[in-house]
Symmetry: D5
Subunit: 155 residues, 10 copies
Amino acid sequence: DLSLLGAKATEYPSDYDPSVLETFVNKHQGRDYFVKFNCPEFTSLCPITGQPDFATVYISYVPDVRMVESKSLKLYLFSFRNHGDFHEDCMNVIMNDLIALMDPKYIEVWGKFTPRGGISIDPYCNYGRPDTRWEEVAWQRLSQHDLYPENVDNR
Amino acid sequence: DLSLLGAKATEYPSDYDPSVLETFVNKHQGRDYFVKFNCPEFTSLCPITGQPDFATVYISYVPDVRMVESKSLKLYLFSFRNHGDFHEDCMNVIMNDLIALMDPKYIEVWGKFTPRGGISIDPYCNYGRPDTRWEEVAWQRLSQHDLYPENVDNR
Amino acid sequence: DLSLLGAKATEYPSDYDPSVLETFVNKHQGRDYFVKFNCPEFTSLCPITGQPDFATVYISYVPDVRMVESKSLKLYLFSFRNHGDFHEDCMNVIMNDLIALMDPKYIEVWGKFTPRGGISIDPYCNYGRPDTRWEEVAWQRLSQHDLYPENVDNR
Amino acid sequence: DLSLLGAKATEYPSDYDPSVLETFVNKHQGRDYFVKFNCPEFTSLCPITGQPDFATVYISYVPDVRMVESKSLKLYLFSFRNHGDFHEDCMNVIMNDLIALMDPKYIEVWGKFTPRGGISIDPYCNYGRPDTRWEEVAWQRLSQHDLYPENVDNR
Amino acid sequence: DLSLLGAKATEYPSDYDPSVLETFVNKHQGRDYFVKFNCPEFTSLCPITGQPDFATVYISYVPDVRMVESKSLKLYLFSFRNHGDFHEDCMNVIMNDLIALMDPKYIEVWGKFTPRGGISIDPYCNYGRPDTRWEEVAWQRLSQHDLYPENVDNR
Amino acid sequence: DLSLLGAKATEYPSDYDPSVLETFVNKHQGRDYFVKFNCPEFTSLCPITGQPDFATVYISYVPDVRMVESKSLKLYLFSFRNHGDFHEDCMNVIMNDLIALMDPKYIEVWGKFTPRGGISIDPYCNYGRPDTRWEEVAWQRLSQHDLYPENVDNR
Amino acid sequence: DLSLLGAKATEYPSDYDPSVLETFVNKHQGRDYFVKFNCPEFTSLCPITGQPDFATVYISYVPDVRMVESKSLKLYLFSFRNHGDFHEDCMNVIMNDLIALMDPKYIEVWGKFTPRGGISIDPYCNYGRPDTRWEEVAWQRLSQHDLYPENVDNR
Amino acid sequence: DLSLLGAKATEYPSDYDPSVLETFVNKHQGRDYFVKFNCPEFTSLCPITGQPDFATVYISYVPDVRMVESKSLKLYLFSFRNHGDFHEDCMNVIMNDLIALMDPKYIEVWGKFTPRGGISIDPYCNYGRPDTRWEEVAWQRLSQHDLYPENVDNR
Amino acid sequence: DLSLLGAKATEYPSDYDPSVLETFVNKHQGRDYFVKFNCPEFTSLCPITGQPDFATVYISYVPDVRMVESKSLKLYLFSFRNHGDFHEDCMNVIMNDLIALMDPKYIEVWGKFTPRGGISIDPYCNYGRPDTRWEEVAWQRLSQHDLYPENVDNR
Amino acid sequence: DLSLLGAKATEYPSDYDPSVLETFVNKHQGRDYFVKFNCPEFTSLCPITGQPDFATVYISYVPDVRMVESKSLKLYLFSFRNHGDFHEDCMNVIMNDLIALMDPKYIEVWGKFTPRGGISIDPYCNYGRPDTRWEEVAWQRLSQHDLYPENVDNR
Ligand SMILES: [Ca+2]
Ligand SMILES: [Ca+2]
Ligand SMILES: [Ca+2]
Ligand SMILES: [Ca+2]
Ligand SMILES: [Ca+2]
Ligand SMILES: [Ca+2]
Ligand SMILES: [Ca+2]
Ligand SMILES: [Ca+2]
Ligand SMILES: [Ca+2]
Ligand SMILES: [Ca+2]
Ligand SMILES: [Ca+2]
Ligand SMILES: [Ca+2]
Ligand SMILES: [Ca+2]
Ligand SMILES: [Ca+2]
Ligand SMILES: [Ca+2]
Ligand SMILES: [Ca+2]
């Protein structure tokens, strides 16, 4: 699966492209555990003004059989670079694509954007596989989301 | 709906004006998720002394059909600039106006003001749509509110 | 009610004096919400040695009909300035006085003192109105109090 | 001189008004020393768009005979609230007004604004009384200004 | 009880000595509340190598009738200075001694040591009085202990 | 058991070697309590590229009869230095080895790696002994894992 | 000059384009003062691999007659978005373009990039107008540059 | 000289009282060195309103023959507790009293007060013994004072 | 020159190997400017005990004709991984190798190591090309080195 | 020289003992460079009250022929553990002993103690070898010492 890691000539996609995502097999399928990706280099375009937007994206998931390969995830996130979409849509689309790719037990995506006009926007979505205990976990985590908003002063 | 974003000549309202708020349609209505606005540039007037007050306001909500457009939210918050109201009332009014605008599943508003006479005031209110599971979430979040007050030393 | 806010000649009480506390009417009685006061300028005297003590006091409450006016709260807290009492007693007394004044649904008081002899003391007490759901909230909040003590290194 | 401090009915000017500034006499004229004002509640309007701007302003000076009274300084800074001017002009105007008011030996004014379009602007100006050693100090301080720009990430 | 506070000639014990601990009577026995001691000046000896160890110790408890006097607590903690014991044992012994002294409703002790060989050790123990609701609280607090380990980089 | 602590000539293993781990007997077996190891000096090799990886590893456990000796833990973690394995596998292997060594009641392992290609990966796994109440604790802690991802900006 | 500020339909250049820069006239030409731009949203492409690079750029200058308009500066920096160039070259080019545009008395540009392969690169260049005292200032500031490198741990 | 350190019954002066200051002899008179006192528990009264003021005071000096004893310094600073004086005057008076007491080679006093009306005031004064090289040092330190004002946001 | 950047099969040297270093030509030779490398992933071995050491290394230099390529620098620093040398020697050797490689105008190397036995060691060395003004800069920077040691508490 | 590093049975001295200090030969005598020791685990006794004192000690020096071995430095600093001496004397004695041991070109010692009675004391002394350029450096560093006292709030 790992065609990208260690490969020489990486092609960077010029627009949103979920097909660059690759997976590998989870070696610890007998255990539920979390993997988090910290992605402070996310950038997309405002679909109305064309102005670049910037965010740090946190992706956490519990794998089942397939796991997303991190270099392909990097390429996938880079593919938003010249793609226009709203903040909320970017986060939902990322989560939808990773669900389709990996069929994880649980996943959540949190984007923290820089401000425009003095206000910044932080969308958060999550998902637990239906008819498993992770469906209830998703609800619990959503209902408890961010009781302590971080201090933001735009500097 | 989006008359403001990308528009040239923005009119800034001269006093409290909820009519500037605009909405757009939630594209992910099949999923409950959170959107947070960080607003460190809130200012209003003390209704007794006329002295300006300053706060950082955090607004988090779970959309149903309508979502508040962020540039209109900016204008709305700016409309408090020359408006006199107590801290607690500002936060409750903001939440009431956003409920009337969007009919969200859940919303919370937390204002963190700068001190006067050595004491600062931080009102927090929330709301879950009655007769949905979000009503219970509102109660749970309120009952667990701010168990860890942030360090404040007035500097 | 608001005799102090905006008044010219404030009298600063020379010893502990709960009678300076004033209230005003809660305009949002249909909603349970929190108000927090951050008070980093609290000082009292050690009843044994007479040495000044210093603390940051955090007061959070859920109002019912009456709310404490913040300038009167300032005067009240200043009235401990030349009053001798132990750390734990100061915090309990403040809470008792505010309960007597406002009859709130819920209240908690947390004092964080500077060290003497290398050790600092942080008392925390709370209260939920008996025979309401806030009585159970008080117990839940007490039982979950401060699972993550803040880093203190005396510098 | 101190007509404002302790006065009951403060009038808040409705536009830029340097006439509200008041002074008192320096009691330590035999010694050169610094006084700094930290002013995190500065706000003005963009002269082109009418949008509110926000800054923290740091004012440091070495008094000669007259010193600015801090409550009048507060009113003066509040008078920019509904006044339209560019960031650089606000800082230069504040310094010019304080020079005219106090004739200080030395003064500097540094504004740190919140970002618009992802960029924030921090103007800094200073002044040393001509033909004194403070003229050279002003040059030295300007030439060494801000070798270590603070970390800014717009959050 | 308070023979130490304000006394002139304090004797510092030369080895581990729980007999220096003193108590006073809780004036608020009708209310369950927390008292926390922050103790960043704890030091003991490694029982194998004799090398000094250093920790910050956090002690939180809910008093019943007796409360530990803080100056005696200081002397008690200082008595570990030339005493050899492992990290885990120190924390358990401190808790055992304070239980024997005060018979508290609840108590917890958390030591955060400096590293040896690149690794630091943080033991945490707690206790709720058997056959009271605090026994269950102790279990709940233990089972939720430290879900967010603080950042440690040995600098 | 403690052959390493205080010994002169420590042999550093040249590749992954769980046999260096040593234990000692828990002196407080009548009490469930936590011990955490902070390990900011973990390094391994990428199995594909051979490039060194770096992480801070946090290990927390509740001992039963045997406890891992910290100097042997240091040697064990150092044995990954020239060993090639993926981030997720390293964390799962460490936990498996410590379970085999100590048969603890509960254990969790959290690795926080430095970024490659702008993304960093943080695996977290845990374990509660089957058919004890710690099995349920493991599930609760996993389902509540990391609701507040730390700020990561790659600097 | 200010064709961009407040204009409706901003065109975002698709590659490096210094022609978007605009200026306005300095109203305080009788005084030397500093203006700093904090730009945390800079991104370009690696000219070898095509991989996006990210930096925070700090630009400080002392204006003479012309000053750069901040919205045009934003567009100019955005024009690097799909442009391939090395870190050091980007910073030198930005400074060269701003010198050509404004003919400032003094200017400095400092880029702080995110790491690749565990190492991050921070180029710094500066310029003082030849045959003025700012030429010597440039040398002094360069020779004293960054005696206290900020803490960087790649997280 | 050391009548206070270790003494039992400390008398706390009820108003400003420099006579409580005591000295001891410098054992290292052959070497010029600095001693700094960090004093975060300073409080005085506003001479106009009677409102308490709070500051952290930093005192640094180079001793000659006499050094101030720290417990007497504590009592001296506490004597401002019920004393009314302006911020600038308190700092100058403290420095004058310590010069009279110790005749130091060099001394500086910096007070950092909490805000009133949104503005905080930080006076700084210093002194070098006339006709020594410390006189020039005082001038150099004054002329370079606080080129990097600390971030203050009133929280 | 750039054989490594973008190449597929990187060979990681198994011991200290300065021959992996590569250079490219400085495109801005007409201007003196700084380039800094932040390297938080440095590790070597203690030559006496064989125990791994860890440091963050900061390298700053002013290029003349040749500049070190960053991926080759990464490989070079990784070559210390299984190499035994004292802290001070590592830093001096790195600087010597980079001088031999690039013949820079100026260079400095600062290593900040993690503690052993409670003490951490931070060597700093620098170099200015003889008989240029950078020789004097090196002396000035050395003589002013680290007047403000960063806070270190081993956690 | 290195009898201690790697040795098995370290003897910890029971009182102040400079004879435990050991040296090794500087391998880079042709270059002046700095070595800093960060020592956050320093503790001594108050000579009047016997109460333990705690400090972080920073030692920076420029070696000539001999360098102090860090494990012997650790033992030396530990020898103050049961030794009574004032803060200022401890710092001067440490510097005197290291001068006698190494005859360095330059050395400075800065102790930062925890507070007693609300005040903390930070002595700083330095030394440059007479009749070398380091004598002048010592004076320059002393005269510029600590223009920016760190924030201390006793928590
Ligand atoms: Ca802030
Ligand atoms: Ca911020
Ligand atoms: Ca603060
Ligand atoms: Ca602290
Ligand atoms: Ca950041
Ligand atoms: Ca920030
Ligand atoms: Ca740290
Ligand atoms: Ca770090
Ligand atoms: Ca960092
Ligand atoms: Ca960071
Ligand atoms: Ca602050
Ligand atoms: Ca630290
Ligand atoms: Ca610390
Ligand atoms: Ca503080
Ligand atoms: Ca502190
Ligand atoms: Ca603090």
